[in-house]
Each structure stands twice: as C-alpha cells, then as structure tokens.
C-alpha cells in the first residue's frame, strides 16, 4: 500500500519535529533544534531496518519517493513566496553584510572541499529509485 510509505514519512517527520522541539526546550531556546535533521536520520534508520527485515515492498517505497521527487517543485513554490521587496529594501547594510558573509563562507567551503582526497571513489551513486518515470522526472 502506497499510504504506508507516506505514513512512515509522516511519522518520522512528526517524531523528528517533536524531538527537535524537546531538544530546544531542554537547551532553553525558543526554537526547534534540528528537528528536520533528526527526522531525516530517523527515516534513514527506518529504511535500513525495514529493508533488512524485508518489510519494504516497492509500493511502500513509492509513497516516500513521490514526496522526494516533489522536492524541487516545492522549492520553486517556496521561492515564489519570499519577501523579495523587503530583502531589496533593506539597504546597503543588509546587502553588504549578506554578500560579505556569503563570500567569506564560499571561500572557506572551497578551501575545505579542496582538501578532500579526490580518489577514484567518483561520487558514490545514491540509491536511486528504479522507477523509470520518477527517475525521468528528475
């Protein structure tokens, strides 16, 4: 059943957000601490566990993969509701500090990533779904 996959995703999502809120409360901050990240880890572990127990038929996987494939359209919708007017009206302080911060971070990213040994491991392929329709959609 395809809903099992989506329900698994939803359960991981909710549990992750809950744990993130709990962590935030424990640390005394008024925000969620890594809830989505925790949810992602839960989903990774759930997949590993269920795959081992052979509890993961193709149809169940599709219930998760659909939402993974919807990711880019959702990001486009997210872009379409940014407060662009406010961002551009922020003036030189906002623009300058944003550019400087991004520039500095870009240099540090480049420096760190260049230390990575580029051995022949050649970008290990993630486990792509074998559904040709979904793979094509990306």
């Amino acid at each position: 059943m395809i809903i099992y996959g989506t329900a698994l995703l939803a359960a991981c999502h909710l549990l992750g957000i809950f744990l993130g809120d709990l962590l935030g409360q424990l640390l005394g901050v008024k925000t969620n601490v890594g809830g989505v990240g925790i949810a992602m880890l839960l989903l990774i572990f759930a997949r590993l566990y269920m795959a081992k127990k052979e509890l993961l038929p193709k149809l169940t996987e599709l219930g998760v993969e659909y939402w993974g494939a919807m990711y880019i359209p959702v990001v486009v919708a997210m872009a379409a509701q940014q407060d662009m007017v406010a961002a551009l009206r922020g003036g030189p302080v906002a623009v300058l500090s944003a550019f400087a911060a991004v520039g500095l971070c870009a240099c540090v990213i480049a420096a760190i990533n260049r230390t990575e040994r580029t051995t022949v491991e050649a970008a290990p392929e993630p486990i792509l779904h074998d559904n040709p329709l979904l793979a094509d959609a990306e």
């Binding site: 995703l9 939803a10 999502h13 957000i17 993130g20 935030g24 640390l27 901050v29 008024k30 925000t31 969620n32 601490v33 890594g34 809830g35 989505v36 949810a39 992602m40 880890l41 989903l43 990774i44 997949r47 939402w67 993974g68 990711y71 880019i72 359209p73 959702v74 990001v75 919708a77 997210m78 872009a79 379409a80 509701q81 940014q82 407060d83 007017v85 406010a86 961002a87 922020g90 302080v93 906002a94 500090s97 944003a98 550019f99 911060a101 991004v102 500095l104 971070c105 870009a106 990213i109 480049a110 760190i112 990533n113 990575e116 491991e121 970008a123 290990p124 993630p126 792509l128 779904h129």
Partner: protein
C-alpha cells in the same frame, strides 16, 4: 466566465499551486534547453522565475509573502510553506547512503560551527562600520547574517529595536537569495561534487531554503546531504546568538 474560473482557482488553492508550479517548471525546462542549451539548470531558472514572481506579488499587494499574498495564488503559500517543504526534505533522506553521511560527520559539525560564527562576525562588523555600534544591534544584525530566522529570534531575546530587527531579517533574506541563485554558478569553485562536499556546504552556507534550492539547482543527488546538515543551522544559531555570541560582542564593545 473569467470570474467563475477565478473562483474555482481561488477555492482550490493547493491544486492551483500544483498547476502554476508545473507550468513554471515546464517553462524553465524549455528555456534551459532552447536558450541556454542545457548549460543553466532548469531548476535554477525555475527558482529565479519564482523569486521574480515573489517580487511582483510583493509590489502588487504590499504583503510579506510574495506571490502567496495574492488570493488567486494563496495555495503557493501552502505548497511552499514550512510544512510541505520540510516533508519533502525529509523524504529526500530516503536516498541517503548512511555510510557516506557518517564519513562526513565530524567535518559537518566543524562547518556548522564555522557557518554560524563567521557570518556573525562579518555581519556584526559591517553593522558596526555603519554606525550600529551598540552590542544589541550588532548582535541582531550579525545573527541575521546567519539565517533570517536566527536574526529575529536573537533580536527578540536581547531586546532589539524593530528597525534593527527588520534589517536583520533583510540581511538573512538577501543571503538566502544569493545562495539560491549563486550556488549553481559557483558550484565548480566550491568543489561541490561529493556528498561530503555537500555537507560542508550545508553547514557553512546556512539557511535551509538557500542550501536546498541552491543544491537542487546544482545537482539533485546532493540535496539530502546538504539539507541534513543545514537543518541544524537555525537551531545552533538560535542557541548561540542570544548567549555566547551576544556576550562576546558585549565584552568587545562594552
């Protein structure tokens, strides 16, 4: 006729949003293929169109949620809102290879810390050079340079004035937009090729929205790795902003 169509679209907001976004993606795919011969990724163009529409919507309505403030496109707000965005991000984790993620664990933490402290120093420094020389304003604007959520959360905690808060949010928004648009352009310079490099990027570039859109426009396979680290960014920033970073700034400028 038009009125009936408008009513149907407005009452079925989320469905309208699916159709509109599908149209944008289709259009940008064609632009990518025909005008740039595949050199600029379709998703990058789609995100730029989205940002352009957000600007248009913002000027039309005077609201803060871009296109989503127009009643006809209200569903965009639901489709691109935090709920579905996080749902889709979590779903991408299904493709993560656990061994890859574990290999980059330590460097991910280091880049997260750097990604919080470095933008803060830069933002606070520039705020100071523009005359915002009190510790509260410097901290709030510096926190805004981390992400546009860390800025107002920090500002509210330490009692910043509304105009400084607005400036801090604007800083974070500009940063998110630069990362969204700039990542595919700078991908080669950033050496964004492997899961590990995506995790370093996720930690340092911050802002879930910027990282996830930037990586989506660069290489869809790298999205989950970057997002996995970036989602801790806001939490860490909100943790450090009103505490360690504020106290350090206060100690420096008095």
């Amino acid at each position: 006729m038009i009125e009936i169509l408008q009513k149907a679209a407005a009452q079925n907001g989320l469905v309208t949003a699916f159709a509109v976004v599908g149209l944008i993606v289709l259009l940008s795919g064609q632009i990518s293929r025909r005008l740039t011969f595949g050199r600029v990724h379709g998703s990058a163009i789609a995100i730029c169109i989205g940002l352009g529409l957000a600007y248009w919507g913002g000027t039309q309505t005077g609201g803060h949620k871009g296109l989503a403030d127009m009643s006809l496109f209200g569903g965009i707000g639901l489709m691109g809102g935090a709920m579905l965005r996080d749902f889709a991000i979590v779903a991408t984790a299904f493709e993560v290879q656990a061994t890859e993620a574990r290999k980059a664990g330590m460097i991910g933490v280091v880049s997260l810390l750097l990604g919080t402290v470095l933008p803060f120093i830069v933002g606070a420094g520039i705020a100071w050079s523009f005359g915002y020389s009190d510790a509260v304003s410097m901290t709030t604007i510096g926190a805004g340079a981390v992400t546009y959520i860390v800025g107002p959360v920090t500002g509210a905690a330490i009692g910043a004035t509304p105009d400084v808060m607005a400036l801090s949010i604007a800083t974070g928004l500009v940063k998110a937009i630069i990362v969204m648009v700039g990542t595919p352009i700078a991908a080669r310079f950033l050496a964004l090729k492997t899961p590990r490099s995506a995790m370093v990027f996720g930690g340092l570039a911050g802002t879930v929205s910027g990282v996830s859109a930037g990586l989506a426009a660069t290489d869809r396979k790298l999205v989950p790795y970057g997002a996995l680290v970036a989602t801790f960014h806001t939490g860490l920033g909100c943790l450090m902003g009103p505490s360690v970073l504020f106290l350090a700034t206060k100690a420096l400028v008095g």
